[in-house]
Symmetry: C2
Subunit: 257 residues, 2 copies
Amino acid sequence: MASRITPSDKGTLPKGLMLLRVLGEFPSGARFTDVSQESELPVATTHRVLATLVSHGFVDYSEDSRLYTLGLRIFELSHKVAAVNTLNEIALPIMKKLADETGHMALLNVLDGTETLVLERAEPPRPIHVQFPVGARLPLHSTASGKVILATMPEKERNELLKGMKFQKVTGNTITKRKDLNTELEQIREGLFAVADEENEIGIRSIAVPVVAARSPRRMALALAAPAYLISKKDLIKEVKVLRQTATDIGHRLIAF
Amino acid sequence: MASRITPSDKGTLPKGLMLLRVLGEFPSGARFTDVSQESELPVATTHRVLATLVSHGFVDYSEDSRLYTLGLRIFELSHKVAAVNTLNEIALPIMKKLADETGHMALLNVLDGTETLVLERAEPPRPIHVQFPVGARLPLHSTASGKVILATMPEKERNELLKGMKFQKVTGNTITKRKDLNTELEQIREGLFAVADEENEIGIRSIAVPVVAARSPRRMALALAAPAYLISKKDLIKEVKVLRQTATDIGHRLIAF
DNA sequence: CAAGTATTTTCCGACTATTGGAAAAACTTT
DNA sequence: AAAGTTTTTCCAATAGTCGGAAAATACTTG
């Protein structure tokens, strides 16, 4: 278990990467002060780093509005993240079918660090207002996707991941004790699906199953999410069959993502 | 006209950003040596910078395959680039309709720096093999989109942009002289559409019109691209009407992108 | 519209993270 | 198991960063 070197945590690069993340929090543009305050960097430093990011196209600056925004270079790069394009072309249509059939929002999530990331989403015909945009991050312990991913990963890896993590109480139903989580994961492994019953957001229930793609190092899950008033936990579980079918289908076609 | 400061061109940040671009060229992963060579940085430097990028989630490293790839953080960020999500939801369906009706590939391009960037694309039903993936960059002077964007931008801005640019001869038909380009742009302004007749790629013809979105600082164009053997220049021009209609439609709905 | 306030940009000496050649370590191949 | 290749680490000189504070610019208000 190599300690895998000591990546510098000071210097401009980490600061620059941090500023990119900060700018992500201002979708409609951030003023200089916003960036400086949010990042808690001295103004002089912020200024210098921002200038570099701008000059390389990673950040756009509008002289008119005096706003900084993430640049198109980010957009460009994201389409070169291995096989991201296949998500739209392969996974989305399949997910759309699932959403249409079940009437619920379908979400494809992937483990990234200690969170889950929304890779793709398909809305059902009926307009609902559950907001999980693509690119959103969600906790592991309070979501169906997170739990099913945790449950199905190798024990060693899971322990490594959970070590020292604390589980924030997001709603009244959130599992917050490691012991309770272990019990839940054990149970999930039995049925190979996970349910989150208003554990991450009051008023939302969801169910998820693992997605296994050939030659993919990524841990993914396919989920259905619905407003609680629309479907009981029991009825949601009835969808597990079609959900699992879809997940298998996606897994077979999402080679090496 | 402020010279807008002196952004550092040395140091880790520029190097890190460069490595991200380099990794974009290896969609299926790059070995350490690939990165080091392609970037022309000393191995020690490459190593240190890569480690920092990895530790911040911008680059993934697989111990098994020993390959570096762009990380999901990039994917995440790209969905926070102002209103990128609306492209899929708003523009794509409209473009798909255009592609279906005309039988040609529809492309939405945006000016970024001295190039054009493919923002969105819709394929026609019939399978064609013109490859312009989303995220691809194309020259301004040899493409329909590039030319129509140049033609319709304020003169001052255009001069600023073209100043010192040299126009690479991509195919036998490419316009390479500034003077010829000016003449062409003049003509484009008359009809408000541009045609590229195998100017960027032998065997491909395309036509483009401007897309004007409310409160958008971006310069965009909507294009149709087709294999030359499928359609004559004359017939392609006949599509300008429906193309323009679609462009207007998109412009109206793509607020503030 | 001038004075006052808030925001953004620049300056510069002290300091510290970066640099990169070269050697060591870890793999791969023969 | 030796030879070759690729990756990782070391370390002292150096060059870029740091950030407080002042200057410049934009915005507000009486």
